[in-house]
């Protein structure tokens, strides 16, 4: 017997009538009354460059995993526009709290390829200094960092100024208690935080219907702040919507929930096999909504970029891929005694003794090594 849970509404594959879109999949510019976007052709070319380069980083990292240089990789394929659009809406003093797939956001925050890959190579838990990049380390526990983001925003609020926080998570995380608690806190304290949810339709093998019976962006209203659904494959839409939400946060209007309607074109990670749970036809639908092709179509058709420009970006991507590879394979393995490093800000004699004991143990093999 199967319990009757009713029939969940089929998600509207197009994103539905509330979807904010400033650039169609065919590359047509659209205006939206709530989200005017003042942007130059040069800036759009810059976004195109970002999109192409982060996709290339992703392709190279996937290859590195297949060749045994990375332990695992979480591909951002298909989600480039959501990450570049929102990432480029940030100001230098804003703070980003990513999940573990935000390689495009990391790119926007100036995280270097080696700093990004060291986690997936197993050398450390993230190679960048969160204070320098104004981006916290990747968060592996789903949704836990939504609370950190909210607390950080409460700190900004107490410091004064016009800084804001953005928290990234996915559709699966929207079910987590911590994310819902973050919504409560942000609302009650009117914290300057933007919740940027990339709804890529899949939480490993679970479709969005397993997380929610209503569109995610509609949940925000119940917590007391606005929710908006944007075409997550439209870099211009993501930029405009995120910029508006950050501006609201900066000016004391509290949090906003953004649902970026997108699709995880690849596997959950390199350890996953999506052919076990989803159909290729779905992939085909989303391939036609590719976030990069539409920008290229727009730039070509409007005459704002020529073949030489696209060739130059390709060449830059090829060079970047080589850099990524070098940064990865040349990374030195950590030393065994690094196990003990930085457990505490104020080290304890007990742990020091444990470290010394292990060092002496390792030294006892010196003769064998020589």
């Amino acid at each position: 017997m199967t319990v009757d849970i009713g029939v969940p509404a089929e998600p509207e594959p197009s994103g539905g009538p509330d979807l904010v879109q400033l650039l169609t999949p065919e590359g047509q510019r659209r205006e939206h009354p709530d989200y005017p976007l003042d942007i130059t052709a040069e800036q759009i070319r810059g976004l195109y460059r970002d999109l192409v380069l982060v996709r290339r980083i992703d392709v190279e990292a996937t290859a590195l995993q297949r060749q045994g240089e990375l332990g695992i990789w979480a591909s951002l394929l298909g989600q480039e526009a959501a990450q570049i659009g929102s990432g480029r809406a940030l100001r230098p003093n804003d703070m980003a709290f990513p999940s573990y797939r935000e390689h495009g956001v990391a790119w926007c925050r100036g995280v270097q390829p080696g700093e990004l890959l060291s986690l997936y190579r197993g050398n450390d838990f993230g190679g960048w200094n969160p204070r320098d990049r104004m981006m916290s380390l990747y968060s592996i526990v789903i949704g836990a960092h939504a609370l950190h983001a909210t607390g950080y925003a409460m700190g900004m609020q107490r410091d004064g100024g016009e800084d804001a926080v953005i928290a990234y998570f996915g559709d699966g995380a929207s079910s987590q208690g911590d994310v819902n608690e973050a919504f409560v806190w942000a609302s009650v304290f009117n914290a300057p935080v933007v919740f940027f949810c990339q709804n890529n339709q899949w939480a490993i093998s679970e479709p969005i219907e397993k997380q929610s019976r209503i569109p995610l962006f509609q949940r925000a209203r119940g917590f007391g702040f606005p929710g908006v659904r944007v075409d997550g494959n439209d870099v211009l839409g993501c930029l405009a919507v995120t910029r508006a939400a950050l501006d609201a946060a900066r000016t004391g209007q509290g949090p906003t929930f953004i649902e970026a309607w997108t699709y995880r074109m690849g596997a959950h990670t390199t350890s996953d096999d999506p052919t076990r749970y989803r159909l290729a036809t779905e992939l085909e639908i989303w391939r036609l909504r590719d976030p990069i092709e539409r920008v290229k179509a727009y730039l070509s058709r409007s005459g704002e970029a020529d073949a030489a420009f696209f060739d130059a970006i390709e060449a830059e991507a090829t060079e970047l891929a080589a850099q990524v590879r070098r940064a990865c394979v040349e990374m030195a393995d950590p030393e065994p005694l690094e196990i003990f490093a930085e457990v505490y800000a104020e080290p304890t004699p007990h742990l020091q003794a444990q470290r010394d004991g292990f060092a002496a143990y390792l030294d006892s093999f010196e003769e064998v090594r020589h």
Binding site: D124, G126, N129, R131, L137, L147, H148, G151, V343, A345
Partner: protein
Amino acid sequence: MGTYTLAKALNEGLRAAMDADPKVLIMGEDVGKLGGVFRVTDGLQKDFGEDRVIDTPLAESGIIGTAIGLAMRGYRPICEIQFDGFVYPAFDQIVSQLAKMHYRSKGTVSLPVTVRIPFGGGIGAVEHHSESPEAYFSHTAGLKVVACSNPADAFHMIQQSVASDDPVIFLEPKRRYWEKAEFDPTATPDPLHQARVVRTGSDLTIAAYGPMVKVALDAATAAEDDGRQLEVIDLRSLSPLDSDTVVQSVRRTGRLVVVHEAPVTLGLGSELAARVTEQAFYSLEAPVLRVGGFDTPYPPSRLEEDFLPDLDRVLDAVDRSMAF
């Protein structure tokens, strides 16, 4: 000098910490107008304002998770968990986030967060209000765990915990909140992570912390009538655990009884027994004995006097050790 209850001493310690550093915040359920259900934060919101003494929504994971974010921004939050048994919704934030951030970030992010938890039983409370969760946190690398047993330590240790750049789980013996003692607030305190010999003796060592220190001292007084001189150590710090002080004592007395309210299996007594066996094996005249809670859930309050170690159960262990 002044006479304070343990709760008032904590209150004064918190006030001093907030006076000393404008980045210090207090957050928790009912900590504002009410002053906390035990009144430990009484009057602080009135004097420091709602931005520094924050009444939070009722969600413990949220309290710790937002405190982590505030600490990342440069604040020093002091979180109150209303009762021991309510800390578990925050377990992930404490164990996976608070404890690991400094390590994860290779030392670039410190989280000076103090988590105050009234712990232990003996007040006739309903379920989830009398637990002793210290072993979970002492088992977790990256956290420091301390327990005060008296007003003077409460006053000084809370300030030392707030000043620490590491996250500190600060355990308060709730059944001792109303016990008074005289102390000098201007005295220089012992280092936070150092145990203290609170009574000297030559026949046997009792190690205890938090609410059980008084029980251990009472047992030592009673044992004196039988001609036995018991040494009592207040461990004070559970992680790092100052076992050196205990080992030195056992080298003189040859016998050790560890007392805590928490169930004995894999409790602090287990760790202490292992360390003393490793470091003072030839000094031991008897096996290390543990007196603690049984390996059961905390029982209904009409049974708690049977569950909790008391003077007689401690003396029974002393007898068994001396007779070995």
